[in-house]
Amino acid sequence: MASPGRRAAGGNSLLRAARSASLWFLLLTAALLLADGYLIFMVAPTDAVLGDVQRIFYIHVPISIISFLGFFVCAVAGIAYLIRRSERWDRLAHASAEVGVIFVTLALVTGVIWARPVWGVWWTWEPRLTTTLILWLIYVAYLMIRHYAPTPQQGRSWSAVVGIIGFIDVPIVYYSVQWWRSIHPVQVIGPEAADDALEPIISRILIFSLIAILMLACYLVMERMMLRAAEDNITELRRQQQDASPDY
């Protein structure tokens, strides 16, 4: 019989090592994000047509890309969990889904802020926007499923299958919305128009921003995984204590 105290102590030293590593990671990320802010506001040239609002692009594009990456990680970790049944995979899936949902929310918000002065509307049912919104809804449902599941075990399996179905669904949603839009006579705006080559300075800042925000996302995922591990530890200890003294 493994004593709960020993397990917790082993977990603690590991946790402490991970914590100091994550602190350094956080400091590095913070430095990069500060530098990113300087580059975006002081170095990047102001857009000749769109003006300062274009600077949102340096945040918006990396956030969107990384949120999609988060859902990809979530689906892969979900599959790995279903095969290996290791809670570590489930923690990764959960953390990347949560970070993905936050990032998609931010992507939608920054997109809407950008769209109002540039397109003249807050929202339009353009394929990428619509797909992103559907994606957001699917992964909000993913998080709800975890919350509503009667047991943690069911929550893990259910969210894994929802993550898989959601990830398969996203390309189909994208194509269907694109076809749906293309047969309606609408203005071609945004992504299609923005595909022309970017200035080297702009693309360099964009890549820097992508790296900085990717590091932020990695940090958040790691931190969330550690938090989940601690939560699971507490739940487990409580359960053991309850088992030991049912009247307690």
Partner: protein
């Protein structure tokens, strides 16, 4: 063969249950009518001018009915321990899934077949065509697949009535789009090109993909 017989047995059980009680079909029919009436007030159009939005109304009604029927498919198993019986039956989980999905498919097709002429009269749909039947069949296969899968999850939670639509609607967006667009084209009687080049293939791909994936991972829905 090993899969087909239990699948059909489970579907037939559900159909027979419904033939005896007629709970789901009757309530779904009345609900379908109510949806049309409510939309009529919501849109406040002149008589006869609902035709342009008719495909949308038709599929909104059909998908609402779908959620209603799907909620019932596992919920009725909760009475008298039916679900436990189903799960300890010596058949694989994909047979349970396919049987349940087939049962839901039959219900929904019956409800849709009864409602379609009613909708045609109330919404002033120009014409009914065989291709519309194919569109309805393919779209409903997709609804039944996704709906049955998520109903299996939702039925095990406290908040099953709200959880099913929250899971169901975002995932079936491609089906709703394809069904509405194809129905509009079919009813206009104009060029049928996009129906065959885009929407029918989209529906077929969606149905095939999710039938395979869902029956494959359905075992994970009922565990632990």
């Amino acid at each position: 063969m090993k899969l087909l017989r239990p699948t059909l047995a489970i579907a037939w059980k559900d159909v027979r249950l419904e033939l005896r009680s007629r709970d789901t079909v009757i309530s779904a029919l009345v609900f379908g009518l109510i949806v049309v009436v409510v939309f009529n007030f919501g849109l406040n159009r002149a008589p006869g001018s609902l035709a342009p939005v008719a495909p949308g109304l038709l599929w909104v009604a059909y998908s609402f009915i779908g959620v209603l029927a799907m909620n019932r498919t596992f919920a009725r198993e909760l009475e008298h321990g039916g679900l436990d019986g189903l799960l300890i039956a010596p058949v694989s989980r994909d047979a349970v899934f396919l049987g349940k999905a087939l049962g839901s498919l039959v219900f929904m097709l019956v409800i849709q077949a009864i409602l379609l002429p009613v909708f045609a009269v109330m919404l002033g749909l120009p014409a009914l065509s065989p291709v519309l039947g194919l569109i309805i069949l393919l779209a409903t296969v997709g609804f039944a697949t996704i709906g049955t899968f998520f109903a299996g999850i939702a039925v095990q939670t406290r908040s099953r009535e709200i959880l099913l639509p929250v899971l169901f609607f975002p995932v079936v967006v491609p089906i709703i789009i394809a069904a509405v667009e194809a129905t509009a084209l079919a009813l206009q009687g104009g060029p049928a090109g996009p129906i065959w080049s885009r929407w029918i293939p989209l529906l077929v791909v969606f149905d095939a993909l999710f039938l395979v994936v869902c029956s494959w991972i359905f075992a994970f829905v009922f565990e632990g």
